[in-house]
């Protein structure tokens, strides 16, 4: 296990280097001048060249590409992403103040989705091609088809029309006022969680289906075991490993869900920060957030892989 751990940790370094390089390239190499976009200029060319030069200098864009890349990497290493063009505050501080909210929504949404998805996905697999399976499949495919932001809008329409409710203006942390916090976050959590659940249900179903076709399941049936014993003790246990992995891979859906859901509910979290930064043409923030989100994604996947290896010794020697 220790060798495996060391190997995986070492492998993460080139990946993160690559991630930093890709973020850098997206921001520099794609045609389109960031400074022009920031200054709001267009093809009319009515932009003060001096202002342009000053902005280029401020962003360090007047330096050679290699130097720029070096500066960016050095900043990444020290988690120093410069200052926001919009607020003038260090980017990392801006992120840290918004992190608790997003983290809370993310964790609660994951719990909601796992509690829904695993029993439903298993049921659909065990009753494959019956009406139970069809209902669960339609619900989960439908859940994936409905965009999170629209669910958010529907929830708001419903709450506004029937309860005269408006989205909260300021986030109340759970340690300050748990009830107010719950009221603020219950709808966003359900909005993100249901879609996440739809994805996970579908994957749980296909994983359990695959496991149910294994030889040892046939043996279990042949031994005359009851369905409960076959499904719970034999199938579910072995299907859980891939399910753990998919909860990790679906983390991407969670992030996407957070970005739009926080925007719909006007929650001041990291997801909405991304959207705001793009709207404000706040490129240091966009660059930093895209990198940090990818970093989280890489770390979550590493943790998932490690859990997997912990449960299934064969992987460590692969």
């Amino acid at each position: 296990m220790r060798t495996y751990l060391a190997k995986r940790l070492l492998l993460i370094i080139p990946t993160l280097f690559g991630v930093a390089a890709v973020v850098f390239l997206i921001m520099r190499v794609i045609p389109g001048d960031v400074t022009l976009l920031i200054l709001g200029g267009d093809q009319t060319g009515r932009i003060d060249p001096q202002q342009l030069a000053a902005m280029r200098h401020q962003l360090g864009l007047d330096q050679p590409l290699a130097v720029q890349f070096g500066t960016w990497l050095w900043g990444v290493l020290r988690l120093d992403f410069g200052t926001s063009l919009w607020t003038g505050q260090p980017v990392i501080e801006e992120v840290l103040t918004r992190l608790p909210l997003s983290l809370e929504v993310a964790i609660l949404a994951t719990i909601v989705s796992v509690l829904l998805a695993i029993p439903l996905g298993m049921l659909a697999a065990v009753r494959q091609d019956t009406w139970v399976d069809y209902v669960i499949r339609i619900a989960s495919i439908g859940g994936q088809a409905i965009p999170s932001f629209w669910v958010g809008i529907l929830v708001i329409l419903f709450l506004v029309i029937y309860f005269g409710w408006g989205p909260p203006l300021e986030y109340t942390p759970p340690w300050v006022d748990p009830w107010a916090n719950f009221q603020q976050l219950v709808w966003p959590v359900l909005t993100v969680g249901y879609r996440y659940a739809a994805v996970t249900t579908r994957m749980t179903r296909s994983t359990v289906l695959e496991v149910l076709r294994e030889d040892y399941i046939r043996t279990a049936w042949a031994k005359g075991l009851r369905e409960r014993a076959v499904v719970i003790r034999h199938a579910l246990k072995n299907a859980m490993l891939p399910v753990i992995t998919l909860v990790g891979t679906e983390f991407a859906f969670l992030i996407g869900g957070l970005v739009v859901t926080e925007t719909v509910f006007t929650l001041n979290g990291v997801g909405r920060f991304v959207v705001d930064a793009v709207a404000h043409r706040d490129y240091p923030v966009v660059q930093a957030l895209v990198f940090l989100i990818a970093l989280c994604f890489v770390i979550v996947n590493l943790l998932i892989d490690l859990t997997y290896a912990w449960f299934d010794p064969r992987i460590r020697y692969h």
Partner: protein, 301 residues
Amino acid sequence: MSIDSSLIGSAPATAPLAPRLTWIEQLSTFVRAKPLGAAGAFIIVVLLLVALLAPVLAPYDPYAPDYGAQFSRPGAEHWLGTDEFGRDVLSRIMYGARIALFVGFAASFAGCSIGAGLGVVSAYCGGTVDLLMERLMDILLAFPQLILALAVASILGPAVPNVVIAVTVPIIPRAARVVRATALSIKENQYVEAARGLGASHVRVVRQHLVPNVLAPYLIILTAQLGTAILAEAALSYLGLGAAEPTPSWGLMLSGSAPAYAEKAPWIGLFPGIAISLAVFGFSLFGDSLRDALDPKLRGK
């Protein structure tokens, strides 16, 4: 990998004397074998027709504001009501189908084709090329799909062709990974070796043996990505990074005005969402059935 004969409805190869089925019989076989897939295919056909015939079907000009008819309730005049500029919601949804389907098809086709190409080349070359390509794809996969699209769109600026590019980029590594895995196992077959031994060039081997055999995973990932691409377009437009006003894009129709007029005109926020969900639902149902049919491991019974 063979295609489930019930899906295409042709007679199985082992029974060459089976009577030829008319297309109606073929269709009914498909509907009975895959009711969900057939429902999905039906939704897709309807959407395509609406998109193609939008100028004929739409009762109003989707762009023309009518300040006398702002916030009209759904009724005989405007079936789905009007928005804050008095524009007919139904007509805008019909024209919106063009944008959703265009971005959906263009992005998933481009993304899957580029990805599949890279996957096949990577698997066939092996060695350093494969290793480098794999690392690059791993790195691209480290970005959640929407975040990568958002980053690309933020640099390109809001416009429909830019959305296609932004939605295409994250699809490439996903398609490459799936196709490469299949191509790797195909490459090990003896007939590939035999073809090389007979003096076939690399290009010929790839074209004659690898490409036809990775068609199944290519189609699976293509249909799976169609729905995702439509959703991504809607999300980008909703966030203000997709099509710009006054383009009738479904996501854009939901942004800004929809929640603001929740009490006054809830239909503005209702119908475009139904359109998005229905479209994605159709593609997912169809894609799922196709996967079940093409992937023998998951085939029932």
